[in-house]
Amino acid sequence: MIFLWIILAIVVVAAVNFVGIYNSLVQLRNRVKNAWSQIDVQLKRRHDLIPNLIETAKGYMQHERETLEGITQARSQAMSADGVGAKSKAEGQLSGAMGKFFLVVENYPDLKANQNFLSLQEELTSTENKIAFSRQGYNDQVLFFNNKIQMFPSNVVAGMFTFKPEEFFEIEDKEKEVPKVKF
């Protein structure tokens, strides 16, 4: 009889644990999604700001058509990219194009004195930072989630309900580095 009770107790404990693990996995996955939407908001904001920037800069930078076109192209590519991996690559390229643009701007004092341009530059710099900071948060959450679904015992539950590891939002080192200007 006691033996039966013990088995019953083990089953109950296992069931409670099982539900707990499942719930925590769902919670973690939602956190990843939430963190991703934080990044998405900032990415969209950047896409919205860029046409204004190009419109303002066009008049001053006739000789930099290539740079401006590069941004426009990178932007449309980033906007059509789907999935975290493709998006992080395209957005990384856009960041690189923007970095190049702001370096070139240094040669156009008239543009730099334009009030409209200055406020756009501030907004874009800030958006760029916000992307970086929300990326930190997102990657933290992804790491936590991925660790959880690979480790015992939560990996058993994850396998049963097909929880898949999430992708990191990574920007290639080449684009991340701000080029240094030398005089």
């Binding site: 370096l103 501030e122 930072n129 930190q136 948060g137 701000v178």
Partner: protein, 480 residues
């Protein structure tokens, strides 16, 4: 942010309670000796009065301590339009710290560079910076300062400091009132006339004890308070470096702030510990380490500059190399996860004023912007500042006498008042005005044309519901 520094937060809470009771006990004892010095059995009445004072002050400091401090510092809440960069930087740090809500942003109209944070919880907090700080720091430096203040909010330092600051203030206040009442009322003479009886003699002794205690209590309370407040500054520096991944920003900001020679007018003994760099340090050059609310700024800069990365581990090892005798500064729980964070590169930014004159002008403009002034740039290059209650449709330039139209946002404010008055009457059906309408597409600058063909632009700050055409006088309703 995985590391929430729970150990630190728990320790803060514990210390807050200990401090709360120690200071409360000091206050009660002060009440006792003061009461006893006035009458032989006045001690109990004194305790009762002190207890009432204590509970009232505790309640006040809990429910409105932050607004009191904001009021004392004359800071004004600002929106994104007044200083976009400051607002953006606060938002960036909010994201980095994954704070649930955005703290309120205040600007203090003062030329001395400094900053502080207040708030009783993480959800209800505010970050205050002076106009002088904004005009002197570049983007990275400002980010460092905001991150430092954000860390105070995150580590629950602000609640503690708000609370303790007001308790300390009440002890100082009580003892000062007592000492001054002795000085002015000549009450000591009144008691001396009764010293013939032995009871009177006991009272005279009590009097001396109370005077001594009234002098000592504020000092003791302050020492207790300071000992805890200094460690927090280091911790906030460490968190700021981690949040921004750029210790140099905070280091050079601290350098700028500490090289300042202007006095911060709104700061006093009570609010001083809340600032990022002690605003009162200038008056007394040699403050002993025991009575200083802040660690020496040069030491803080040195630690930040010798960090290898941007994580807590880096700060700890840098701290240990600069101050080899001091104990570990970062709680163990935060060091356990051996994360390696590399520093980021500096951002391209040259928003610092080029000359002293420009800096002073920037401060002036900023203070005006905080107070709701509008700025117009004349074709001759002069910047005209209009107070918010300027009502005429145009202004003539004091330098070149050109007439400049006041932007409609300014006029609109006047129009809205008239409009509101009209609407009031319209309820009774006096006016049957039909208005054109325009729906806003977004929140940026937009333009629309009036029925008569004139084009008007709406600024992002435009909040009035109706705009009156300056040409034909017809009204257009702005929706959205």
């Amino acid at each position: 942010m995985q590391i929430q520094m729970w150990e630190l937060i728990a320790a803060n809470r514990r210390k807050s309670w200990i401090l709360f009771f120690c200071m409360g006990a000091a206050l009660l004892f002060l009440g006792y000796v003061i009461g006893e010095s006035f009458a032989k059995t006045g001690g109990l009445i004194g305790i009762a009065i002190a207890f009432v004072v204590w509970s009232i002050l505790s309640l006040v400091s809990y429910f409105s301590g932050d607004s009191l401090i904001l009021f004392m510092s004359k800071a004004k809440e600002v929106s994104h339009e007044v200083h976009p960069q400051l607002f953006n930087v606060v938002e960036e740090m909010k994201i980095a710290a994954s704070l649930p809500v955005m703290p309120k942003v205040y600007i203090m109209p003062d030329a001395a560079p400094n900053a502080f944070a207040v708030g009783k919880s993480v959800d209800k907090s505010a970050i205050v910076v002076t106009a002088g700080l904004l005009s002197r720091l570049n983007r990275d430096e400002l980010q460092g300062v905001v991150a430092h203040e954000m860390s105070h909010i995150l580590n629950r330092d602000v609640r503690f400091l708000t609370f303790a600051g007001i308790l300390l203030g009440s002890i100082v206040l009580l003892s000062e009132i007592f000492l001054r009442s002795l000085w002015y009322s000549g009450s000591s003479r009144r008691y001396r006339s009764r010293t013939s009886s032995s009871g009177g003699q006991a009272q005279a002794i009590m009097m001396i004890v109370s005077i001594v205690f009234a002098i000592l209590a504020p000092i003791l309370a302050r020492l207790l308070y300071l000992a805890i407040s200094r460690k927090r500054e280091y911790l906030a520096d460490a968190s700021a470096a981690r949040l921004t991944r750029y210790p140099e920003g905070l280091a050079s900001a601290l350098e700028v702030i500490s090289s300042n020679t202007l006095p911060l007018e709104a700061a006093n003994k009570v609010t001083a510990p809340m600032f990022i760099v002690n605003p009162l340090l200038k008056k007394k050059k040699k403050v002993s380490a025991l009575t200083s609310t802040h660690p020496p700024t040069s030491e803080r800069i040195k630690i930040l500059r010798s960090m290898y990365g941007a994580g807590f581990l880096d700060y700890q090892s840098s701290f240990a190399s600069v101050k080899p005798k001091a104990s570990s500064i970062i709680p163990k729980s935060a060091l356990r996860s051996k994360e390696t964070l590399s520093k980021r590169a500096s951002s391209i930014d040259d928003s610092k004023p080029k000359s002293l004159k420009e800096g002073v002008r920037n401060v002036g403009d900023l203070i005006r912007a905080v107070n709701g002034y509008a700025f117009l740039v004349c074709a001759c290059g002069l910047k005209i500042k209009l107070p918010s209650n300027y009502k005429k449709p145009q202004v003539s330039c004091p330098k070149c006498n050109r007439n400049i139209a006041v932007p409609l946002v300014q006029v609109a404010a006047v129009v809205t008042a008239a409009e509101a008055a009209m609407k009031k009457k319209d309820k009774d059906g006096v006016f049957g005005v039909s208005v054109n309408s325009y729906t806003r597409k977004g929140k940026g600058w937009e333009s629309f044309s009036c029925a008569c063909g004139a084009t008007h632009s709406i600024s992002p700050v435009f909040s009035a519901g109706v705009m009156t055409c300056t040409k034909c006088g017809s009204k257009t309703q702005i929706k959205g």
